[in-house]
């Protein structure tokens, strides 16, 4: 299989990830915070090691401010619903994934003021337009770091600088950038960072997390057992216990711990360079194929390893099916859970075919994919010419 669907979930994973998950299940990993036998204590140390490695990866000063979540959507909901109250104003962009857009719209229906700042057609926001949209009651800027539809990267550090100057919190949705593009929460003035474990971080599905800076206190979305202050009827005030009720996904975190170790060893900047080279090769190749429209930033503009395109006269779902049928290429067609972003780039009626290389993608696989796309575009042209 040629796997070009890393924006949905990365594959393959470093071998140590599967080993760690297996060991967690077979070796008897206890439930941390519930008891005092060795398996439980060792699990707690593994979880802590994972927090520390994530802190190192994202420049987070205190690892205890990282709370594990099931995925980015889970983390974004924790952040958005934990910090916003009726009467508050939130700024967001027209490139958001539904994981930001839908919680914000749900809150808007309950008295929160929402401004969706329009990006340009390529998906990049103008920082000045953010600044112009700030109001006296603006509490939060919630922004996707890189689009899952076309890879457009937002100027997060500049947005962070403005947010910090104006006393506004910045929530970054790092679903497409965590592990693929270097992130430093301090340098970028990010107060809340939501990240998946199973995409660029190369860990198992069902993992993710939220960094909560010490400038923020979140209302928990769920209350329950934390293995601490058990006699109190109230949720602990300290982190991560405040947001981590119930048993954690230990096998998943064990795998994530190993994948983050792998990333720290390899270096995210190195992975970014490799993915950028693959993406540019893909974009250069697509630009030469007649009948193919590519969306997003211009060919040489930096973007995440996410490329969206359409073939004139072909349904995106058919293109994806043909890519799989002809060369066992896995990709994603359709609307990518991001209706707002598709409206912004003018693909709300068609959707797109999305190709997303990862750190293990080979250049030869990009060449194969381009060959099949060129073949499909030629066939579509012949069909158009024959009026079929």
């Amino acid at each position: 299989m040629i796997y070009l669907d890393n924006a949905a979930t990365s594959w393959p994973k470093p071998p140590a990830v599967a080993r760690a998950v297996r060991n967690a299940l077979i070796g008897g990993m206890g439930n941390p915070g519930r008891t005092n036998h060795n398996n439980s204590m060792n699990a707690a140390l593994m979880v802590q090691e994972c927090r520390e490695q994530l802190a190192q990866l994202f420049g987070i000063p205190n690892p205890l401010r990282i709370c594990f979540a099931a995925n980015t959507t889970d983390a974004l909901n924790l952040a958005i619903k934990g910090v916003i109250s009726p009467g508050d104003h939130v700024l967001s962009s027209s490139m958001e994934h539904n994981s930001v857009w839908r919680p914000l719209v749900a809150l808007e229906e309950r008295g929160v003021e929402l401004t969706v700042v329009a990006t340009d057609a390529s998906g990049v926001i103008d920082v000045a337009s953010i600044e112009r949209s700030i109001k006296s009651n603006t509490k939060l800027i919630a922004m996707i770091h890189a689009s899952n539809v076309n890879g457009a990267i937002q100027p997060m550090a500049e947005i962070g600088r403005i947010a910090r100057q104006r006393g506004i919190l910045l929530l970054a949705d790092a679903a497409q950038t965590a592990g693929s593009i270097p992130i430093d929460v301090e340098a970028m003035s990010i107060d809340l960072l939501a990240f998946p474990g199973h995409k660029g971080l190369l860990g198992p599905q069902g993992t993710g997390g939220l960094y909560v800076s010490e400038r923020v206190d979140l209302r928990p979305l769920k209350e329950g057992g934390t293995g601490s202050d058990s006699m109190s009827p109230h949720q602990p005030l300290y982190y991560p216990d405040r947001l981590e009720s119930g048993t954690l996904n230990l096998p998943g975190i064990a795998g994530l711990n190993e994948s983050v170790r792998y990333l720290l060893r390899k270096g995210v900047a190195r992975i970014e360079r490799k993915e950028a080279a693959l993406t540019h090769r893909l974009l250069d190749g697509l630009a030469k194929i007649e009948g193919v429209t590519v969306y997003g930033p211009a060919v040489r503009v930096t973007r995440a390893a996410v490329v969206s395109f359409n073939i004139q006269g072909m349904d995106s779902v058919s293109v994806a099916a043909q890519l799989e049928a002809r060369a066992d290429i896995a990709c994603r067609p359709g609307w990518h859970c991001a209706g707002l972003a598709h409206r912004t780039q003018g693909t709300e009626l068609t959707g797109t075919v999305r190709l997303s290389p990862g750190p293990f993608t080979k250049a030869s696989e990009i060449v194969t994919a381009l060959g099949v796309i060129a073949e499909l575009a030629r066939e579509a042209k012949i069909q158009r010419a024959s009026g079929a």
Partner: protein
């Protein structure tokens, strides 16, 4: 050998401090806080040698963690219950 027992609200805090001490070459044992010292329900503790207590306190201070108390301890893990011997921090 005199041992000290530092009681923490959460196992997450214990794990962080233990790993910080481990990096300094200090072994501290993680354990569930004995019931007699655990006034708010479940909590966890670190047991270390008295002479290593300063490093433990330094790690707590670095990570802004305030132990619920530091107590004199016995090697058999039964804490000293005589109030006069309790060494509240």
């Amino acid at each position: 050998m005199t041992l000290k027992l530092a009681v923490f609200a959460s196992l997450n805090q214990v794990a962080l401090v233990k790993r910080a001490l481990q990096r300094e070459g200090i072994y501290a044992e993680m354990l569930r806080t004995p019931r007699c010292l655990s006034h708010t329900g479940c909590s966890f503790a670190l047991r270390c040698r008295e002479e290593e207590l300063a490093q433990l306190e330094k790690a707590c201070s670095q990570w802004k963690i305030e132990p619920g108390g530091i107590f004199a301890d016995m090697e058999d893990s039964s804490p000293v219950l005589d109030n006069d011997l309790l060494d509240e921090w």
